[in-house]
Symmetry: C2
Subunit: 242 residues, 2 copies
DNA sequence: GATCGTCAGATTGTCAGACAATGAGCCGAA
DNA sequence: TTCGGCTCATTGTCTGACAATCTGACGATC
């Protein structure tokens, strides 16, 4: 991209310094990592697929160190695994991983729900607005990718109620891994429309101040989600088990 | 973390496959990252210190890409921050970060405590043994580094009660950041000996099946820890805070 | 005197090429 | 068949290089 010898456009002499105007120039590594993430979430790479450095480098038009660093990001996010001298490959989610992830998200989200009363107004508003956006997108028959994105955003807003950025960051990696598992068993996609009322059953008791009911609803909702993924996964790969 | 599931065949030239005999031949990047971590935890690098790539490379006898990758690990762990074209520098913990971290660890550890009954026997035994090891180390007047390590290991074993490796991994990064904050205000070290009975007040009700009491004890313990760090930090950097 | 443009130095971001170490698969021999 | 060695592919690491950008100081302009 930046191969042309001169981006001669000198756009420097701005007369005013406007606040909070950031030009989103992500680094090459970030762009590569984002592209790989997209490919993973879109199911273009099956579980266990090795991610060869040289092939990716010439395919994406960047150098091998750049690809290597981007792969490190994916590994840190839990979307890929690196084995010494064998390279990086897409994770293969098994039932144990789904169980682990589901337990983690239950802990994170219920912690947020339990702090509904103590959370800030903006955090509570975020929960309301993300659910509204998700519901609206469902009625508007938006694409699966959009629905998925808004759905996850709602659950993230629940975690944010706990008031810790670190917990939200942890939840983001959990959701990334779950999202990848979903992409690899993409038959679950048709279920993605039945969700809004299930989420509303969480928010309604919250607004009413009934934290226990909200937590119970969340618990069943997450248990249902786990069961759906487990079912789809065991159909796809019926070889696992204790 | 879940490494390769046991599909590693016996095709090696070794005649016997001894269990749990690992040759600790970590990669160069891991060694560099570990060395940097040690330096950070030992307080050899003050908050905000820039970590220059070339200087570290020739100081450690490795190449710049290797250092660069190791710095990426530190950034991913939250121990350093990277600013575009300005490099990586040691994080400077402020009161907001301490608050954030404390809330996160409260969520993670109380989630573990709450699942004491449902946790596996080995997880409960791990809590007992780590506390015993810590107590023994205190009576034996071990070094501060050893005490710190065992202390953290006990709290990690609490998180492990929740039964999710991802949560334990998240807790590890939280503790890493907290540990760094502690190292930077190292006047708190003298308090490190007064802890065993405080932890025993958590375990005792657990063994008795009184989860609420255990959680309450944990809450006060963590609140005390946060107050101690906050106090030390505001002495060191008395410029922050609304 | 203050603000701004410009320049040199330092540092990072990215690239290209290279080499050794390691792992995987193939083929021949006991 | 099973074992041992060979070849190839891939990664881990190094060296060197260049462009983009930040920092700080110097001088010009109002």
């Amino acid at each position: 991209m930046a191969r042309a010898p001169g981006k001669s456009g000198q756009n420097g002499p701005m007369t005013h310094a406007y606040p909070s105007l950031t030009v989103e120039v992500a680094s090459t590594v970030d762009r590569v990592a984002e592209e790989l993430r997209r490919a993973l979430f879109d199911g273009e790479l099956a579980a266990g697929t090795p991610l060869r450095e040289v092939a990716l480098a010439e395919s994406l038009g960047v150098s091998r160190p750049t690809v290597r660093e981007a792969l490190g990001v994916l590994v840190a996010d839990g979307l890929a695994v690196r084995e010494p001298h064998r390279g990086v490959s897409v994770v293969t989610p098994d039932l144990a991983a789904i169980s682990d992830l589901s337990r983690a998200r239950l802990v994170l989200e219920s912690a947020g729900v339990r702090r509904w009363a103590e959370a800030g107004d903006e955090a509570r508003d975020a929960v309301r607005s993300t659910l509204a956006a998700y519901t609206r997108a469902v009625t508007e028959q938006r694409s699966y990718a959009v629905l998925n994105e808004l759905h996850l955003r709602f659950h993230l807003s629940l975690v944010a109620l706990a008031g810790s950025e670190r917990l939200v960051a942890a939840a983001e990696t959990v959701y990334a891994e779950l999202r990848l598992a979903l992409a690899q068993v993409d038959r679950v996609r048709r279920d993605a429309h039945a969700q809004p009322e299930s989420h509303l059953r969480i928010l309604t008791p919250l607004e009413a101040g009934d934290l226990e009911a909200a937590e119970a609803q969340l618990c069943t909702h997450l248990a249902d989600a786990e069961a759906a993924i487990r079912g789809a996964l065991s159909e796809v790969a019926p070889k696992l088990g204790p």
